[in-house]
Symmetry: C2
Subunit: 372 residues, 2 copies
């Protein structure tokens, strides 16, 4: 029988959290043999892991060390530990994730059969369970609420000499971000790195933005909180202009909105993610927004259509150039965007569940460009 | 010349963030050859990495792929990429961290000389720079402010039938944690997993705590926020009793406080971390609080004396059973604690900088047990 092994912290490999529902700040070892799951932890975590985790068995490293001393006269700790597991559970081969620690792999792989199977580990959380989905729905609702709060603040802001003021103070990216993140935390979610990117800041998809928000410029707002209780994420983006948008801004916006609408209509089981990526690139080319390198930087659609979302913000499947067939129960983001170093960016992003015959949008929020 | 390589996301390997000051949600590749640093990123991150990062060179994966196609007729992407780096930078051997992705290691290690050097990677951030230190001081001040706010709320709480009330509402672990975390976020820090563990909850060092806070019971408060701007952490714990403590609680508390004081007095360069761990274990034994397994769980001092702290919450050096010599410029936590499944826990934790002749405490907050 193969045995699947992970050695990591739960926040670096969320499969660990999904296997045994046990969160910890340090690395621990987990093994899955058939339907049996087991964890190997320190004295510090032992009682808590047994009390709150769902592993079938929990072992103490100190007990294991004693056992290995009895059984083995030579060999390193990891060599002996894997040999012990192999003997105890009649393991034919160990299967580890691609990012298993190379130092341990190098130590054991001459004696112990170790294989990689990215598809197994990627697949562990790709099809959401009912429990996962109910958490994701809650995270998506919270995410939409935070975005609506940002739009409310922008709507209620006044404009003086081109700059936004909210409650008589300049509204900066930093201030709006802080208000959104506090609003989110008060409702049980942690949002970090929330993007409020005005004008040229928006040309870099991952620039968080800084300085005063200005009327008449594109403002990209991208928020992706996780629920403190379960660590499930939501992820949404809207782009707005306070006051009047120029016709250039409107054209860019309409291209992105039309692209997203067209993408959402194509989502159903068995569609290949790479076809969606190709579609978006061609769609933008046809609207005159092809990808090109300029002296100021790269412009056009410079990222992938989306990504799986769940316990991790970016998880399997990526919705990009690698062909992956969508399956019912997958949750992905759909986030086409266009970026222009001298103008800024437009991105519209929603989270969707792939259903048996299409998709269900989990994030709902108005898509009006101009805020009066 | 050796070349040091990392392939990870900056929040899974903070050396990446420290090398090039470039934060991103996805993995990228970085190389250090002599004093030269370089990053290899996607189109999505290219312009931003060049604008805000401090890498000497930034390369686009798509350009590299084109170059590899020209140069190589066979071989996998990673094999060819490492061969290309080896040729281009006259690399004798690549040195990678222990948690380098095993799948890549397995692919390249037959053709390319790859070695591990944990001490190099561990050492990258162990001695704090002046910039690091100024961020850590700020993080520690914020951490202490959040803890003081918690203690203020506990002091101002009323007790009715043994339960704490603040502003006429029951004060639960969840509510106090939420108030602390919002207070922290409003001041630029993100605290997640803040521990407010009352009574038996405190017996598990990493249990965050739940339910109504009660007078006369030990309450462990452990908060460890990072600054949103720089991601440097602070980490502090205090233990209090609202109202009167029993003599058992007072004795446990005094043992932990005396142990921490004695540990702080021993800190100076060249002291071995393992000697501190042994000291703490013996100290508690002599006070009658030896480590023992009971039918209800493990009691005593069940974790290590502390850990390095910086961009990551737990980083090198660990202050536990592995002997590591302290050096000036290291920042560590000093956090002895005692845990009793049927009573609860006591932990007192401060962050200290190792100086040339001792240590400087970076976190300051009262250590009174009883709050009237």
């Amino acid at each position: 029988m193969p045995a699947y092994a992970i050695y990591n912290t739960p926040h670096k490999d969320f499969n660990l959290l999904h296997w045994g529902h046990f969160d910890a700040p340090d690395a621990y070892f987990a093994l899955k043999v058939g339907e049996q799951t087991m964890a190997f932890v320190s004295e510090l975590e032992y009682d808590r892991c047994r009390a709150v985790g769902t592993f079938d068995n929990v072992f103490l490293w100190s007990d294991i060390r004693k056992e290995l001393k009895k059984r083995f006269r030579s060999g390193s700790f990891w060599q002996n530990f894997f040999q012990f597991l192999k003997d105890t559970y009649a393991v034919e081969r160990f299967v580890v994730p691609d990012d298993f620690p190379a130092a341990i792999y190098a130590e054991i792989s001459r004696q112990i059969p170790v294989a990689f199977d990215a598809s197994f580990f990627e697949g562990q959380r790709a099809i959401k369970t009912d429990t996962d989905l109910s958490e994701i729905r809650e995270a998506c609702t919270l995410t939409a609420d935070v975005l609506k709060e940002a739009i409310r603040i922008l709507r209620e802001s006044a404009v003086e000499e081109g700059v936004l003021y909210f409650e008589d103070e300049i509204l900066t990216s930093e201030r709006l971000r802080a208000m959104m993140e506090v609003y989110c935390l008060e409702r049980g979610g942690i949002a970090d790195g929330t993007i409020v990117a005005c004008g040229r800041d928006g040309a870099y998809p991952h620039c968080v933005g800084s300085g005063a928000l200005r009327a008449g410029e594109l403002i990209v707002i991208d928020v992706f909180p996780y629920l403190k209780t379960s660590h499930f994420y939501g992820d949404m983006t809207r782009t707005v202009v306070k006051g009047h948008a120029t016709s250039e801004q409107k054209n860019i916006y309409q291209a992105v909105l039309d692209c997203q609408t067209a993408l959402l209509e194509q989502l159903r089981p068995d569609v290949l993610t790479s076809d969606l990526q190709t579609f978006a690139l061609r769609f933008f080319e046809q609207r005159g927004y092809g990808l090109k390198r300029t002296e100021f930087g790269t412009e056009g659609f410079i990222h992938s259509v989306g990504h799986g979302i769940g316990l991790d913000i970016h998880e399997y499947p990526s919705v990009g150039s690698k062909p992956i067939a969508l399956k019912p129960g997958m949750v992905i983001t759909v986030e086409p965007g266009l970026y222009f170093p001298t103008v800024g960016g437009v991105r519209i992003e929603d989270d969707v569940l792939i259903t048996n015959d299409g998709c269900e949008i989990l994030t709902s929020c108005d898509k009006t460009l101009e805020l009066s």
